[in-house]
Amino acid sequence: MSDVQQLTMPGAESRVRIDIAGLAIALTLLALAGLVWWDMTKLQLLSPYDVGPKAMPVIVSAGLALLAVGNGISAFRGDLPPRDSLDWRPILLILGGLACLIALIAVGGGFMIGTAILFATTSAAFGRRAFLTDLLIGAVIAVVVYLLFAKLLALSLPAGPLEHLL
């Protein structure tokens, strides 16, 4: 996919020599290495001839620690690729839509209302200003997909009050 999208746009942030975000990445990796190690210490070896469930976590933890150092060096050198300025509003809209969907399913509200909300917020994140229309479109899509999944493919989706009407 777009793992090769390193377009340098005008207006890219000018960065200080030490890349704070890069440093944060390195620290996160270090924390993950510690987490994997800590989890590994709780495992038991059952057979003396088997390296057991501990070997792979040890490798992964060591690798993560090493890569934390590597990423840290990149951060200090300012080696990270240039980044474009960031618009937070659409990100929050999409994540908010996902959060609504998750919450609604968790309390048994079914997926349909949540799906309609997710459709509308995502659409708003991409610049549409017709929230109610999109909510309606989202609801129609949810019904169509529900019927397709449930009736044609024999899959069950978490149902709430609305789904039971269909």
């Binding site: 996919m1 777009s2 793992d3 090769v4 999208q5 390193q6 975000a21 890069g22 990445i25 990796l29 993950l32 987490l35 989890d39 495992l43 057979s47 003396p48 001839y49 088997d50 390296v51 057991g52 469930p53 792979m56 992964v60 690798g63 993560l64 590597g70 990149s74 690729p81 980044r83 474009d84 300025s85 960031l86 618009d87 937070w88 659409p90 999409i94 994540l95 996902l98 959060a99 998750i102 919450a103 968790a106 997926f111 799906t115 997710l118 459709f119 995502t122 659409s123 994140a125 991409f126 610049g127 549409r128 999109d134 989202g138 997909v145 999944f149 493919l153 024999a154 899959l155 989706l157």
Partner: protein
Amino acid sequence: MEAFISLAHGLSVAIVPMNLLFALIGVLLGTAVGVLPGIGPALTVALLLPITFKLDPGGSIIMFAGIYYGGMYGGSTTAILINTPGESASMATALEGNKMAKAGRGGPALATSAIGSFVAGTIATLGLTFLAPYLVDIAVSFGPEDYFALMCVAFVTVSATFGDSPVRGLTSLAIGLLLGLIGIDILSGQSRLSFGVPELYDNIEVTTLAVGLFAVGEALYVASRRHIHEEKLEAVRGSLWMTKEDWKRSWKPWLRGTAFGFPIGALPAGGAEIPTFLSYATEKRLTKHPEEFGKGAIEGVAGPEAANNAAAAGTLVPLLTLGLPTSATAAMMLAGFQQYGLNPGPLLFADQPNLVWGLIASLFIANAMLLVLNLPLVGLWVKLLAIPQPWLYAGILVFATMGTIAANPSPVELIMLTIFGVLGFLMRRFDFPIAPVVVGLILGPIAESQLRRALSISLGDPMVLMQSPISATLLIIALIALVLPFFLKGLSRFKAVED
């Protein structure tokens, strides 16, 4: 000869009307979804996996074959018409193809890419047919230590050797391996990194990871930079057909592209980007019309497109014969097999010849269907491209979340999807490659079980890895592939080609 008999047998499976229908649905779905900007073949397969797990395995896998090839065709249409390659392997196509479309030669660009893909796909699938039995014979003699070493080679080449930055590539791989640890360890029955969350005991679903990284991550990324980056759709003007001159300039690049694509795809050497860029560079050097390069040269579309498709078919060689995925799309195909409890590898050829050879035969059929369907349907695909971006991404997210909860109706699964989406967004922003995460998650647990099997046979002696000549050689190759990019910074880019 053996391959001919097997293939003929496979054809008898693939030609059953039901299986033909599955192949047709596959190519249509694959092309339709692949055409949508931002959706590559890996995500296409990932989105469709959860909704097919109740269908018959044979038919579904034939459908995935259709999706696999169809997604590739769809991706090049997008690359040519709006210069948004859905995958990095289409980048070379976008370079010249989009210029051709801008100059009103979108038709011939689409035609040479479709016919070139057909030619390359057919030759490469023939290559697969004849190479597979041979490789299966070798693979049967592989011990667990050899498999482990082979997977080490794949890990390194997928993440470090050919990427922009070996450190970032290996970081992606480590995250994938970390995710692969989560859940109950089958051999000892103990849970790792699950923190008492029941949903985590059953391991991370590959489809949830891929859909999160590719669909949610891409949506977040595109939305966050919409204010600086707009896409423009080029209309297909003029004739769709290639002139005699176009044919003359296309057929050699097709064959050369195939010659680059198939071997590099078949080696566990990571993806289709390299052959497409090699093909682009070669055509640029050999052309009689150097002045057209950068302004829409048909050779620059024909060659890379052929290379891309040949590499895609080549990737199926290690996938089917060794169970070794070397690209994100191949990893999703492997997940498709695992969904039905099938493990690609030499044993699958022995146990399920109908399924494997039916699949290979279906690749030929899918390829032919694509050639026949695609050019006449190009108007339909263009209409798909005209879906307004807000609805497109909203629709993708709705489908992604519904597919995820249909497979696993739990809010925790959706929380994971969201977390992987944020991860995918951050990885795009900081330029970490995505494919190694997916490959790490799916291949990590397999590599671990091979390592543990090898070590329990040797009673815990790690020297077993160096005592088998196959394993020793492969580990040395892996080491070289790991160290080399740190010394040869120049190797790390065909970027110069883009200038």
